[in-house]
């Protein structure tokens, strides 16, 4: 059933492999794709991956630096695979402990790992255990629940209620029941949460009080049913469990108006009302005396409010984690644990890393990395470090921090060559213009950075055509015309062979952007321009018609580079923007290989001092490199990304 199973070292040497019967394609391709898209991009939080028709599951062994990968057809749902990988891993480690423990790759190369028999045996066991679980024998009638009910209890009465005797049977989630109510001992309260409506009890089979009793117990049990599944033994007529909420009785009972006078019962009957009143009293008390004297400063007030109102809020976790860590260090055993942790080699477990990872996650979120990306990153780092043996004098915190730093640098490093000038030269030699398209939401700096990039290209001796495809925003064309004039005055045509270095191709407002772009590119080809920069209108990612229009522009014109312009101030929104932009480009393109976003321009970088998390969010989501960084509003404020500097700013406390 399995297509293949490989065990290879992190250095790349395959130690053992198994190919299923009848499988002809080599598995090297899919496994390489797995490594490149999951492990190297730090998405190893969940351990499965699909590649074309295959579904791959993997497991990292960090102590001996091995990776176990199993592949099977996507359409099969094999339930035993997870456990199977764990078993294989333990078996392999135990068997080859000696060879694996030696550092250095020599043993791995020279040894022949004979694992076939063990593998087949384990596979057979796993398959059999999965088959065994599928079959469940039917219960006999005696064992079923129906035999234990009395006949009388299953008689339905006219009132639309099914009253069952409680003795001897388990509780079922009886949502169909409508608990009857009697006017005698009813207090105020909210209706029950699961939503059964109170039905007027016309006829009853049993005496009203008994019915009330049973219903009350059922009601209470319903609330406590999930943790305990014990049958109720309610022989006593009076309820002994505390009441939290009582049902409110509606409708005309024909009883006295005493029913409707709830004023007296506020004090004693329902605790809810009492609590509310008490809280109201307390609140009023606080407000009355809190504003005396000078106004408190902002920080003091906000922290107090948070502690009062919200207990589960994550913002104050920093103080909480410091409390927990001090608790750990305070104990006597904790002291020894700390010393033990410093000296000697111990392997990391998930629990050790949990507190450090939590702190790191909060730190990343505080530095403006999107929330789910921080948690995915921390999961991936945990997966990478589980079981790793730490050296002497290294603490858990330092190992985790180092690993996180390495992963962040790895994410920010471009996965392909980023050299625009070289690509422009290549296009120049082929006598066709190099087309760059800028897209993004409103107000991120597309036109400004387009002008900066054209200045850079002109300085390096290329001629630029700007295509004004923003036909919506007022003043967009004039803005580009002003830039064109300024650039031409900075680099006058006399110095560049009598020909203006920048030209603007515009067709006014209200026209179709894709058509203008196509004409601009044709014009550039005729006039032998080197680069065409296409400026599009800003659009929100949720605006479906505009996203369709953008996708059409890109699909029709096939630009060489599609740059997404994003500002560094954005927080969690970056994830949503990029995902939706990529989705729109993929959905509306007609070809098999749609043009997606090829690069990112990170703008307004001078406005954030060290909250540089947006860079991580954007590169993580798309996997594309950050090509330009905009650091200001003049023509010289264009930079390239330095991964190490950004990561050190990010990890700085």
């Amino acid at each position: 059933m399995l297509d293949f199973f490989t065990i290879f070292s992190k250095g790349g040497i395959v130690l053992w492999c198994f190919q299923g019967a009848g499988v002809t394609e080599s598995f090297t391709g899919p496994v390489n794709a797995l490594i490149r898209s999951v492990i190297l991009q730090e998405r190893s939080g969940n351990n499965s991956y699909t590649h074309e028709a295959l579904s791959l599951k993997y497991k990292l062994d960090n102590e001996f630096e091995l990776i176990f990968v199993v592949g099977f057809q996507k359409i099969l749902t094999l339930t035993y695979v997870d456990k199977f990988i764990d078993d294989i891993q333990l078996h392999f480690r135990d068997r080859y402990k000696n060879e694996l423990e030696q550092k250095g790759a020599l043993k791995l190369i020279q040894n022949n790992f004979e694992f076939d028999d063990d593998f087949k045996m384990l596979l057979r066991e796993a398959e059999e255990s999965s088959k065994a679980r599928n079959h469940a024998t039917m219960r006999t009638f005696k064992e079923s629940e129906k035999s234990q009910k009395t006949v009388k209890s299953m008689i339905e009465t006219k009132g639309g209620e099914k009253v069952k005797e409680p003795g001897g049977k388990k509780n079922k989630n009886t949502k169909k029941e409508s608990p009857a109510a009697e006017p005698v001992k009813v207090d105020q309260g909210k209706a029950s949460s699961s939503g059964p409506k109170v039905v007027e009890n016309g006829n009853q089979g049993l005496t009203p009080e008994e019915i009330v009793q049973k219903n009350r117990e059922k009601f209470i049990l319903k609330r406590t049913m999930v943790p305990t599944a014990k049958p109720i033994h309610s022989k006593s007529p009076k309820p002994q469990k505390p009441k939290e909420k009582q049902m409110r009785v509606w409708g005309d009972r024909g009883s006295s108006t005493k029913e409707l006078d709830y004023s007296g019962r506020n004090g004693d009957g329902s605790q809810n009302g009492g609590d509310q009143n008490q809280e109201a009293h307390i609140d009023l008390g606080m407000q009355l005396s809190s504003m005396k004297g000078d106004l408190l400063s902002v920080d003091y007030e906000t922290s107090e409010e948070e502690e009062m109102e919200v207990e589960e809020e994550e913002k104050v976790v920093i103080s909480e984690t410091s409390k927990t860590s001090s608790k750990k260090g305070g104990g006597f055993g904790g002291m020894f644990g700390m010393l033990k942790g410093l000296v000697g080699s111990k392997s990391l477990t998930r629990e050790d890393m949990e507190s450090v990872l939590e702190k790191m996650r909060e730190h990343l979120i505080a530095k403006n990395v999107a929330a789910d990306i921080s948690s995915q990153l921390c999961d991936s780092v945990a997966k990478k470090l589980e079981g790793k043996v730490m050296g002497t004098f290294t603490t858990v915190a330092s190992t985790v921090k180092q690993a996180l730093q390495d992963s962040l640098v790895q994410i920010l490093q471009p996965k392909r060559r980023v050299d625009i000038l070289r690509d422009v030269m290549e296009a120049q030699s082929q006598r066709k213009p190099f087309v760059i398209t800028f897209c993004g939401v409103n107000g991120v700096g597309k036109s400004t950075n387009l002008a900066k990039i054209s200045f850079w290209l002109i300085e390096n001796g290329f001629t630029v055509l700007i295509a004004a495809c923003d036909t919506f925003r007022a003043g967009a064309v004039e803005q580009l015309r002003t830039h064109q004039r300024r650039l031409n005055s900075l680099h006058p045509p006399q110095q560049h062979g009598g020909r203006p270095v920048v030209q603007l191709y515009e067709k006014g407002y209200g026209k179709d952007a894709a058509g203008i772009a196509m004409e601009a590119i044709a014009y550039a080809r005729n006039q032998a321009f080197d680069v065409v920069l296409v400026d599009t209108a800003g659009r929100m990612q949720d605006n479906a018609p505009l996203m369709t229009a953008l996708a059409k522009l890109i699909a029709l014109n096939m630009p060489d580079l599609v740059l997404f312009v994003g500002e560094a101030l954005v927080g969690n929104e970056a994830v949503d923007q990029l995902v939706k932009f990529n989705q729109a480009l993929a959905d509306h393109s007609m070809s098999d290989k749609p043009r997606l976003i090829d690069g990112i321009v990170l703008t307004k970088f001078d406005t954030i001092d060290d909250k540089v998390g947006a860079a991580i969010s954007m590169t993580y989501i798309t996997g594309q490199p950050i090509v330009f960084v905009g650091t200001g509003q003049t023509y010289n404020d264009l930079r390239s990304l330095n991964a190490r500097a950004v990561v050190s700013a990010l990890m700085k406390a």
Binding site: R417, R422, S640, A645
Partner: protein, 275 residues
């Protein structure tokens, strides 16, 4: 007297002289004591001090001197055959390989009379891992083997040239000047280019890269990487202009007889022996 000096510290010349005066009697007494001592004891003290000073100087000299470089790095683009070459060099056997995500190192005995042992280190070629592993190992490199996939060289020529450019302009590498062996791998495939052709193409490409890379944008904190200029200004770039020793060899890690046979890496082994 000390109270006087601390009380009257207004920063004048008279004050300074006033401060020196209290120490004079102490200096006098010290001088008297030294002269009273046995001269042998004095010589002993002076010799001890001199030994300490000389030891410190020696230690500093030894520590700051270049660490012994005995590593041979296998670098190259992804899928160029570095890990298989590594396995062949060390054991001669064929091993299936996947994309490496960490480095592997092992000692290698060169096939020369001296029997020198180098540490061969196989670095991952993936773009996101390349810079950090190069950072880690470049100072210990005695020779760098740059592995190229000769069959798809035409498509990848710009990527290969960029990596080679980064290697050649790195300050540490250009200072240490290790030997550079460009191994044109995968010669068993029929469409593989020859070493001479690859050399010419790389020279042309590096020529262009000199111009574009120096015009590249500086990074956001003003750091401009690798300011070494390759070759001679005004003339086309050639590998002979470099201060490093560059040699082009052809090899095939897989071997012409497929997986069972030996690899054609004799030329590589010979070059390694010449180190």
């Amino acid at each position: 007297m000390e109270a006087d000096s601390t009380g009257g510290n207004m920063g004048g010349k008279a004050d300074v002289e006033m401060a020196e005066n209290p120490f004079e009697p102490y200096i006098e007494s010290l001088r008297q004591q030294l002269e009273d001592q046995d001269p042998v004891f004095l010589i002993g003290v002076i010799v001890a001090l001199a030994v300490i000073v000389i030891t410190c100087v020696f230690l500093k000299y030894f520590l700051s001197s270049k660490t012994v470089r005995s590593a041979v790095l296998l670098v190259g683009l992804c899928d160029s055959g570095k890990t298989l070459l590594f396995a062949r060099l060390l054991s001669g056997k064929f091993k299936r390989t996947q994309t490496s995500i960490t480095d592997s190192s092992a000692p290698y005995k060169a096939k020369n009379e001296k029997g020198s042992t180098w540490t061969v280190i196989d670095l991952p070629g993936h773009d996101s891992l390349r810079p950090q592993y190069l950072e880690k190992f470049k100072s210990a490199a005695r020779a760098i083997v740059f592995v190229i996939d000769s069959a798809i060289f035409q498509k990848e020529v710009r990527d290969v040239a960029e990596f080679l450019y980064i290697l050649l302009t790195d300050t540490v590498i250009s200072r240490n000047a290790p030997a550079l062996l460009v191994a044109c791998n995968k010669q068993d495939i029929t469409m593989a280019k020859s070493a001479k052709l690859i050399q010419q193409q790389l020279e042309k490409e590096l020529n262009t890269l000199r111009v574009t890379r120096s015009a590249a944008l500086s990074s956001q904190d003003g750091f401009v990487g690798g300011s070494v200029y390759l070759g001679k200004k005004g003339k086309d770039f050639e590998f002979s202009q470099l201060p490093l020793k560059v040699e082009f060899v052809e090899c095939s890690a897989r071997g012409s007889k497929g997986e069972e046979g030996d690899a054609d890496i004799e030329s590589l082994e010979k070059s390694l022996a010449k180190l």
